[in-house]
Subunit: 424 residues, 2 copies
Amino acid sequence: MSSPAIALLLTGHELMTGDTVDSNSALIARHLLSQGILVAEKCTVGDDPEALRTAITRLSQDHRAIIINGGLGPTDDDLTASIVADLCAAPLVEHPKARAHVEAWCERRRIRANPANMKQAWLPTGATLIDNPVGSAVGFALTLNNCLLLTTPGVPSELAAMLPAVADSLTATLGGAPAYIRRVQTFGVGESTIQQWAKELGDQWPTTVNLGFRAGMPQLELKLTVAHAHEVPDQTRAYELLEAKFGDHILGEGETQLAQVVQDALRRQRKTLTTAESCTGGLIASMITREPGSSTVFGTGFVTYANEAKQSLLAVSHQVLEESGAVSEAVVRQMVLGALDQSGADIGVAVSGIAGPDGGTEDKPVGTVWLAWGTREDLRAHCAQIPGSRTLFQQLVAAVALDLIRRHLLGLPALPHYFTRQAQ
Amino acid sequence: MSSPAIALLLTGHELMTGDTVDSNSALIARHLLSQGILVAEKCTVGDDPEALRTAITRLSQDHRAIIINGGLGPTDDDLTASIVADLCAAPLVEHPKARAHVEAWCERRRIRANPANMKQAWLPTGATLIDNPVGSAVGFALTLNNCLLLTTPGVPSELAAMLPAVADSLTATLGGAPAYIRRVQTFGVGESTIQQWAKELGDQWPTTVNLGFRAGMPQLELKLTVAHAHEVPDQTRAYELLEAKFGDHILGEGETQLAQVVQDALRRQRKTLTTAESCTGGLIASMITREPGSSTVFGTGFVTYANEAKQSLLAVSHQVLEESGAVSEAVVRQMVLGALDQSGADIGVAVSGIAGPDGGTEDKPVGTVWLAWGTREDLRAHCAQIPGSRTLFQQLVAAVALDLIRRHLLGLPALPHYFTRQAQ
C-alpha cells in the first residue's frame, strides 16, 4: 500500500510497569487504517521528561506526523504539553477556548475548578485545539521539525471520541486514501471454522479480497478488505458467499452489537422482552439496557439467584426444584413463564447454570447451563456446556441468551452452530 | 530508583494495524519489575526488515539490554533470527539443541517436522538458547554493541513460560533488586485530589516513597513504591498518612474489588442484600454476582426499568410516580422498601436516573440520579450528577451504589468525597 505512515508515541508510567495493557494504540491504528493511514512505529516511554524529549525529537525526524497519547491529565506527572512547548520553543499560555472547556466541564459536574484542573487549559503558544467531547483534557496540534504533532488524552473513551478529528488533521496534512474495508459482526461461529470454510472454497473466493478477523468479546468481527475501488464488486461477492454459508450468525455491519439487534427487532415487531436470570445475575438485562432506547422494549427483569427468589417471584414450584434441581429444563421453563406472567412482556428468556468455581457435580459440572426462551406458545429449552472462567461463562451465557432471542425474533434456525456442533 | 532499565522491541504486522492489542509487553514489564528491572522504552514495528534493523540498532545503542518479542515463528514473515544474525555478523546455523527441541515438539503432536518447523532450529552463530517449555520456537541470547539481545516468541503462553529464564539472563548481566510496591485500591476520590493533598503535606510525606496512580474503571489504584528494603517503614508511614486522610475511600490492597468488599462485609455480618435498579438495568446485581460466593449474600434483584414494573413488583405508588417523577427521592425510597419486602433481604439499594442520551429535562438533566440505600430503619437517599456517556454513567452509578452499601455496612461516613465535593 502506498498509504502515508505515521508514528505513535504513548506515554505513561503505568504502561512501563505493565500495570496497564495498552489498548489505545490498537484503537488509534484501526481508526487510522480505515482512513488509509498506516502506523509505522509505536514508541512507549514513561512519564520521564528526558525520555519524552528524546522520543519526540527522534520520531519527529523520522516521520511526518506523530500522535502523542497520554500525559494530558491534571497532575504533575502529565508532562506532554510542557515538553512539546519546550521542544517547539512555544511557551505554555492559558488558551481561552481550553479554559472555557475546562470550566464548562467542572460546571457540568457542579465542582469548582482547582489548580490541577486549570493546568489543562495551558497549551503551547500557537497550538490548535483538538476538542475533547467527553473529558476535561483537550488535545492540540503543533508542528516540530516539519512534523505534525497531535496530542490526545490517555483515557480510552476520550481518545475514541477525538479520533475522527485527529484523523481529519492527519489526512489534511498527509493526504491518504481510504482502504475499502467491510466489517461484518458475527456471533457464535469461530475463526477456525470460518477459515477452514474459506480454504475449502478455493477458487470461488475472490483473490482480491482479504479476509481478516478481530476477536471481540463476545462477538467476532470479520473484515473483507480490497485495495482498490474497482474491486468492491469482488468484496460484495465475498460477502454473499459468507452470507450464504453463515448468514444466521451475521449480526450486521460496522459496530453493530448483539443487544442492539435484539432491541431493533423487538421495536420493529412492537414486542417487549423480559429476563429471568440465575447464573448471569443481571448481566442479560444490563446488556439490553446498555443500549439507548431500551425502555421501549424492556420494562422488567428478574434476578432470581436464590431458589427462594425463583419460587416467590417467578412461581417456580418447590417440587420441581427439589426433583430436578435449579439447573434443569423444568426450572428454566417455569422461570420464563413466571417472568412473562409477572411482567406482561411478550417474549422471555431464562438461564440457570453453574458458573463456578464451586457448585459443580459429576452430573452437572461447572459450565453447565439450561436456557429457555420464547413465548408461552412457542417456548424452547436447551442445555449447553460453556467452559471458561466464571466471568467468561457469565458473559457467554448472557450473549447466547440474547442470540437465542434474536433467532426467535428473526425466524432464523433456532440453534446456532456453537450448539449444533456440541450436539454432534 | 536505581534499578537497571532495559528496552522492549515488539514486532508483528497485527500490532501495527490494531488487530491485536499488545498484552505481551505488560506481561514482560510486570515480571521484570518484580525482579527490580524497569522497562525504559517500548518500541513496536511491523514485520518489515528495514524497520526492524533500524530499531534494533538504535535501541542497542541506547540501552544495555533489549527483549525482542515476536518474529520467531515458522513462517516467512518471521524475521527476527535472520535480522539479528545479520546485524551481529553471526550467520544462521542449525543449532543442535534447537533442532532436538523442534523434533521433540513435533513428536509429541505426532506430526512430521516440515521445513517451516525446522526453520526454527536455525539461530545466529554463537547464540545461547532460551528454552521454550510450551511451544516450538526457542528463544536465544546474543550481544550487539555491548547490548544483550534476548529473543522471545509472540504467543503469550509461550512468552509467559520463558520469562523466568529471560529475567535470570538479565539479572545475571545487569544486576537488579526487587522493588517494594504496595498497591492500594480506592474508590470515589480523584487522582488530582490526592496529588493536591500530597503536595500540601510537603515534608511530612517521606521522600523515599514514590506515589503512583493507575486509573481503573471504576477504581483508582495507588502505588507506594520504595527502592530498598530499609525504606519499607517509610512506606508504612506514607500508607498511614493516606489512611488518616482518605481511609473511607480505601477498599483494600492488591487486586481488591469493590463488589468483593461488599460481599465480604455482608458475609461477616450474616446479612443479605437486594437491588432495585432502574437506570443501571441489572448492572449492580451483575457486579455482585460476578464475584464467586455471591449466593450466600445475594438472592434477589429487581430490574424495574419501566414505571409499571416499579409499581407491580416493588409497590411504588402511582401517585408518587405521578407527582415526583420516576427520578425522585420518594420513588427510590419506595423502591428499596418494596425490594426489602419482596426479597426478605436485610439491606437494599435502589437507583433511578437519566442515563441518556435522551430523557433529560432542564430540571433533571441527563446524568441526574437518585439513590436510596440501607435498611427499613436506617434508610438514606441522595441525588447526584454523574455526567459522561450512557455506559460510563451506568458503570459509575452501579459502583457508587455498591460503595454506599459498603459505607453503610462498615460504619463509614455515609457520603463519599465525590458527593460532598458536589455539595460544596
